[in-house]
Symmetry: C2
Subunit: 450 residues, 2 copies
Amino acid sequence: MLSMAEDDSGAELTELVEANDLTGIRLWLAEHQPYEIADELERVSSHIALVPFRLLDKDRELEVFEELDPVHQQEILLGLRATAFHELLESMDPDDRARLIGEAPAKIATRALAGLSPAQRKMTAALLGYPEGSVGRYMTPETVILHRDLTVGRALEVVRAKGADAETVYTLPVVDDGRRLAGTVQLSDLVISDDDSLVKDIVDVLVPRVSATEPAEEAARLMQQANMVAMPVVDSEERFVGLLTFDDALELIEAADSEDIARQSGASPVAGHYVAAGVVRLARARSVWLLLLIVAATLTVNVMQGFEATLEQVTALALFVPMLTGTGGNVGSQSATAIVRALAVGEVRLRDLPKVAWKESRVGLLLGLMLAAIAMLIGTALVGAHIAVVVAASVIAICTWAAIIGSTMPLLARRVGVDPAVVSAPLVSTLVDATGLLIYFTVARLILGV
Amino acid sequence: MLSMAEDDSGAELTELVEANDLTGIRLWLAEHQPYEIADELERVSSHIALVPFRLLDKDRELEVFEELDPVHQQEILLGLRATAFHELLESMDPDDRARLIGEAPAKIATRALAGLSPAQRKMTAALLGYPEGSVGRYMTPETVILHRDLTVGRALEVVRAKGADAETVYTLPVVDDGRRLAGTVQLSDLVISDDDSLVKDIVDVLVPRVSATEPAEEAARLMQQANMVAMPVVDSEERFVGLLTFDDALELIEAADSEDIARQSGASPVAGHYVAAGVVRLARARSVWLLLLIVAATLTVNVMQGFEATLEQVTALALFVPMLTGTGGNVGSQSATAIVRALAVGEVRLRDLPKVAWKESRVGLLLGLMLAAIAMLIGTALVGAHIAVVVAASVIAICTWAAIIGSTMPLLARRVGVDPAVVSAPLVSTLVDATGLLIYFTVARLILGV
């Protein structure tokens, strides 16, 4: 039964290792699935993780290793003896190995490549030839390939002979003489069809395909839209070069979402498990934007200085500054978040910019009117109606403005070729802070005549 | 070839419909995949969408319909004549139909259930008996089931005879006499094995399984971790009741991520396509938190009022209020976002609370020290060192405090059974604003002696 309860296995494993209880560790390993073992190894420090890892038998060792994130894979590799190091790399799936080597520091990468058999080294080098983040880095090049002129019976024999692992034989690529992709057949279609019928009569020629150099994330989202277990990958001459499988697609989408979520808060994505990430690494990932933003916030100080005379005359105006900047920031962040997500999942496109700006400006206005009513009440109760009117009028203008800024900035980022997700909530808030204050004090001068 | 370029098909389809160009529409439909057609139908208004939808042949109509989100499905259904309405519902997959009916307004739901054949009605009612968001609502109940005593040859005959759609025959459930789940076999294992061997000798008995009443999102994340194409679902007596398939798992994870992302910005998730969502619906989804937060922001006004005397004496202190609240909000949001995500993907658990708080407080301190140096420079340049010291010291305290608040609140939410994602960036910012001002003015009084 799926255990969704909180459990203490991580602590338990550490205790077993520290007590040097090898029998206990073996028992613990036998009781857990590879992905569970990997999850626990990611939660403990690497000198602890190596002990149970070395006790795994070869097959499970590989399964556990492939479930680890790249940071932990590197740590484990560094702790292994030369023979174990090379055996493990040799037996990895080519796409997983290529990604590991592609992301590893040069000294691990060189040592890893040097130890591979010529055939595996060639395959890895080919995958590493594709750009980082492209489909080529994630596809499985070793698949069963069917020729379109085969009979179904013969095709099933090919599947049996190759005996590839289950992940890559649900969807079978069908090629013509020049290894050009004709389409795919599902293994189930082969099973259901007559042995004498021809592959070319059941091949799905309309199946979506993707070029190996295209971005892997977009290909994964296409697989999701089209409900595909695997998508064929072709080169520039339409020749079949590999399959992108659903598990890689799932991983790509999860990783992309994690990245977008981190970026939305103005942080760089941190690879690997949160629990295992060090304080300095976490701080570094968050520091770049914070530094830029505190410098940008100098603008707010400038605006406040520009209206220092007004502030000295009516000190009460200062009381509402955090409320106004906060509200503007919230409205802007909501718009930005909605548009960044809509862009990521393909609901909004570049050409929608005018439509989006017009819609968001009305959403902002509506929210502004509602919030202005509350601000009027709060303001009147705390400092009187004359200031409250200024605050309420500013809320309307700031909310409308914030929604326009928040929604158009991600689209403008995409237009100039920047990832829209860099238009984070903090970035929008900071920009809206400075411009919002300008609006507030201008409204105050107009209404109060100061 | 996968088209990643921006295209104008949405506008094109609208033009064809408005010109009443039926031949053009038929051609357009023939040139697009069902998921592409669904995507375009979601971008145009429902009276436009109905025209091409009615022109689809029965098979594609169903495929396109199943790709639509629930909001658009309901709109299309309302535009169909009674016969078409009932035929469409009758031919849907049971799990898709159950979710549609479960989410539809009562009048559609009643009409839909009444029109079903007795067999389909019974199956739909059974699925609707599971709680919303549970595995039972997403599983496929109609699958090929193998008895563990069958031979492989006989099992393949069963698969051939049932001829179910490909999505549900990659992974085949294996049961014993009482329909209790023994495990699963992969279709590829059947193909590769000898016809005379027994299913019970190749069944994977350790395969993860899930109860139909458990949360669907967690089950989907487990499938992702364990790289499963389908996961068997059982009832409380361990009897097989259905399969959760990878396409539903992908959809669940995407929807959960979209929800978390919306919540992080303090908005409720909006079902359906962004482009199709109306201004009022978008504003409503964002209004609840904005209202609560502007009321909570009254606290900031109270704090500012409490220090009005200090402000009147040293007006320059007011200048740095937006910079300080902004920076505190940014640091707090980053921590909250990181922890909410780590909780969602299972990297952090409830029992990690002390560890997380300790780690984040150090991250916050580190960031605070760095930002304080910048604040010191900016402050000295703009207003002189005496105020700059106050600002810099406050930045250190506020950043540390913000990181602690931001990281512990999602964990506390989970402890009291609330979705951690409600601890949004705006909520953290607002709380940090008020407490941050308290810190700032207290530091100012201590250092400046005012």
